[in-house]
């Protein structure tokens, strides 16, 4: 079987909330600075200092693709992404309504939906995120990295337990 390819991997704890990803996304795609045009958005709980970058998950069984009445949305397996063909799209916004992540935007100026296209394989949000809150990695590495982080916590806890046990003697 073909490897699945790369995906956006978001680690919210690392996000500093600066929103440079939003700025570079809008400049790259639309040639203007306008966070409202960005495909990625940092959702914030400012009073607690929690920031979560949200973007398209490029779902396998993409609800937007399924719901589209004119089949304007399709999967591009080469880049592992879900794409909108604006020549076919009728602008009904069904995809916007159905996306569970709110990742399908609707631009009221151009009256078109818009979503992350992974910048054709060089996502600008990733390129500019120095803290790597947004990363672009092989799909199988996402869970691998998480496994490792969790395992580290377990071993640290184990070591602590051993140390505590030896101290008490």
């Amino acid at each position: 079987m073909e490897p699945m390819g790369k995906v956006l991997a978001i680690t919210p704890e690392k996000c500093t909330g600066c929103r440079l990803c939003e700025l570079v996304c809008s400049v790259f795609h639309d040639g203007v600075s306008n966070a409202a045009r960005s495909r990625i958005k940092v959702v914030k709980w400012e009073s607690e200092g929690i920031y979560v970058p949200m973007s398209c998950q490029q779902c396998q069984d993409a609800p937007c693709m399924i719901v589209c009445p004119v089949k304007a949305i399709s999967r591009d397996e080469a880049l592992n992404r879900v794409m909108v063909n604006h020549d076919i799209c009728i602008g009904c916004r069904s995809c916007v309504a159905v996306c569970p992540f709110g990742a399908m935007g609707f631009n009221v100026i151009d009256r078109k939906n818009f979503k992350c296209d992974l910048c054709d394989g060089d996502p600008q949000c990733v390129r500019f995120c120095e803290v790597k809150a947004v990363d672009y990695v092989d799909a199988n590495q996402v869970s691998l990295a998480k496994k490792k982080a969790a395992a580290e916590k377990i071993t640290a806890a184990q070591r602590q337990a051993v140390a505590l046990a030896s101290e008490s003697h």
Binding site: E13, C18, F28, V32, S33, N34, S47, G49, F128
Partner: protein, 646 residues
């Protein structure tokens, strides 16, 4: 390429709102941000007005590069006549307000008059509405912002607000945005309060055109790399500004016990690493946050770990809070620092001024100039953490004789307290010094003495003077974009070459403030950070406007001069202890007692200091009294001010 940028004039007395484009020839003279605000201040205020009266005008702006790709273009600038010293009032803050204002369609606001009841401005996609702020009045800084979002039903609204301190007309009240982004110094919050203006809320989805998008993206990458690879910014990104305090205290440049010492001893608990540990414990390993577009991320997030405020979330503390709640009053508790920082953030009150004035009062109390009668029984000795925090609250709410008196700022307070209290007040132009002690660093002393908004490090401080840079490196920096072949010295205890450095930095920082960029992205704390040449490129790619590095320098010089014209109009006199380019006598009379062996025993030499001021005036084109020569005004195109072009 035409820049489509707008200025709005809002009269709170009449409710009249007028919107105009900003002509390009004005941009070419004053760039934007603070420079253009200074022009507007000079043109829209009359001589001698009451800073807290309806005739004061308050300017709110983003820079020329706000919301564009220039590393970090987050800064918001606010300007008016200062209620603290009567000179230029100016504050500059990070966060997310200015970009939102730009997306909402405005780069400059000019606010006049006074509303007859509390109001706030709602700015949304080219429209401005004056709204009732009855439900906001009395609220803290963050509660005000969350209430606006709820009222207008949009979580993405960014607001500039005042807290209780601004409402109570504390003369050093801040304008605030976010959790802790503070427009501090010179009491711009009090000016908003005096106009019954509680907040300015912005939300926008309008485009800011980028002249050459792909090239701007590529250059931004290079620009960011240059900025984030600097050691100083890597340290900032880990420890935040407290690292500056730590290093400065280590060699002996931190005020302690008002001005008795130049170092706080045995303060391990409030050192940057200790603060960092508390942040790690309460938030986690990734506890740094940043302003719009910035990859330096110098602001820490924390929860107060202990005591009655345990679990409360806030951000910072910056080095200014270490000065206010540690060094100056000589308190050494992390909890006091974190709580004090939280209080001033919520009240919207300048931490530097608050800490400085309380430390001054503590010295007066120990000297017997203030007694239990004036403090209403508060034991205001140095090192008394409880008294310090209590005093912060009393100032904000003007409680008790001393709370109400200190809320008036140092100049008025020293008149009320009387005796020789003024001799102990460490201020310039009515604005208290920050926490640093400049007796061992003549360049820094010249900076605070001549800064336009009163004692201030962010107007012209040649901080890299402390790095013992080789003269060849200094030569490279300081002889561009205008030639300089005079002397330079790597020794920060020296006097030679320093006036030029201060002049150079004055222009550098003005340019940054005009562009809306943060000072951590220029030659402030790092010698290898961008300046004039780099801006020439970044302005061109983002706006399409062509400025040579020299032209940017000339604009900065012009903008600094118009601030000086304002100050002169309002009574600036070279050696006036109240509103002059002068330092407290203690700089010249009391030698430093602590710090590195070469720092102890130092005073500023009066005669050499005078010569530095003379030389600095010469570079600026001022006469010996500090007044611009006619040819200088002509050269800078300021001979017909006020010109009322905008």
């Amino acid at each position: 390429m035409a820049l489509d940028r707008k200025i709005a004039y809002i009269d709170l007395s009449t409710g009249k709102i007028e919107i105009k484009p900003i002509p390009i020839d004005i941009r070419r003279k004053f760039l934007g941000g603070r420079g253009l605000d200074a022009y507007l201040l000079y043109n829209h205020t009359e001589k001698g007005i009451d800073p807290l009266g309806p005739k004061n005008t308050i300017m709110v702006s983003g820079g020329l590069l706000t919301a564009t790709l220039a590393s970090a273009t987050a800064r918001t600038h606010v300007m008016a006549k200062s209620p603290l010293g009567g000179m230029v009032g100016s504050c500059n803050m990070g966060g997310f307000f200015a970009p939102e204002l730009a997306w909402a369609g405005f780069h400059h606001l000019v606010i006049k008059g006074k509303a007859d009841k509390p109001v706030y401005l709602w700015i949304h996609n080219g429209k401005i509405e004056i709204r009732d702020a009855k439900n906001l009045w009395g609220k803290t800084v963050t509660d005000t912002q969350w209430a606006i979002r709820e009222e207008l039903g949009d979580d993405d609204i960014k607001s500039l607000v005042i807290g209780p301190a601004g409402e109570n007309l504390v003369r050093f009240a801040n304008v605030m945005t976010g959790i802790k982004n503070s427009g501090g110094r010179t009491g711009m919050g009090a000016v908003m309060g005096s106009k019954n203006l509680k907040a300015i809320a912005a939300r926008g989805t309008m485009d800011i055109k980028i002249a050459y998008p792909r090239e701007a993206l590529e250059y931004n990458k290079r620009f960011i790399d240059q900025i984030t690879s600097a050691k100083v910014n890597q340290t900032q990104g880990t420890l935040g500004t407290p690292f500056i305090w730590g290093a400065t205290n280590s060699w002996g440049g931190i005020r302690c016990r008002n001005f008795q010492y130049n170092q706080q001893l045995y303060c391990d608990d409030i050192e940057p690493e200790a603060i960092d540990e508390a942040c790690t414990e309460t938030i986690g390993p990734y506890h740094m946050t940043g302003c719009f577009g910035c990859q330096v991320h110098c602001r820490a997030k924390y929860k107060i770990p202990t005591g009655p405020y345990a679990g409360v979330y806030d951000e910072g503390p910056e080095y200014t809070s270490q000065g206010a709640f540690c060094g100056e009053p000589d308190c050494r508790s992390l909890e006091t620092l974190l709580v004090g920082n939280h209080l001033v953030n919520q009240f919207g009150m300048d931490n530097l001024e608050t800490g400085s004035l309380i430390a001054w009062a503590m010295e007066l109390y120990e000297l017997g100039i203030l007694t239990d009668k004036e403090t209403d029984g508060l034991d205001l000795r140095f090192g008394n953490d409880e008294a310090l925090l209590e005093m912060v609250k009393r100032i904000c709410f003007r409680k008790g004789w001393l709370g109400d008196t200190l809320a008036e700022g140092g100049l008025i307070a020293s008149e009320r307290i009387g005796k020789n209290s003024f001799d102990y007040l460490i201020q310039v132009k009515g604005v208290s010094n920050l926490h640093s002690d400049e007796r061992a660093t003549p360049a820094l002393a010249l900076n605070i003495a001549t800064a336009s908004r009163g004692s201030d490090h962010l107007r012209s401080r040649p901080a890299i003077d402390l790095y013992h840079l080789p003269v060849e490196v200094m030569r490279k920096i300081y002889s561009s974009p205008v030639p300089y072949d005079g002397p330079l010295s790597s020794e920060h205890t020296e006097y030679i070459g320093k006036p030029w450095q201060v002049f150079w930095h004055e222009n550098c920082y003005m340019a940054v403030d005009c562009l809306g960029i943060c000072k951590y992205h220029t030659t402030f704390l790092g010698a290898t950070l961008p300046n004039f040449e780099d801006w020439s490129k970044v302005i061109y790619l983002n706006t399409g406007l062509e400025f040579t590095p020299r032209e940017i320098w000339d604009i900065a010089e012009r903008c600094n001069m118009i601030e000086r014209l304002f100050n002169l109009r309002e009574g600036l006199k070279r050696e006036d202890p109240y509103r002059g380019d002068l330092l407290n006598h203690r700089y010249f009379d009391e030698p430093t007692r602590r710090g590195a062996p070469d720092v102890v025993g130092r005073v500023i030499d009066r005669e050499k200091f005078r010569k530095m001021v003379d030389e600095f005036y010469e570079y600026k084109g001022l006469d010996k009294e500090g007044i611009p020569k006619p040819e200088t005004l002509k050269r800078l195109g300021l001979d017909k001010e006020p010109s009322h072009l905008l």
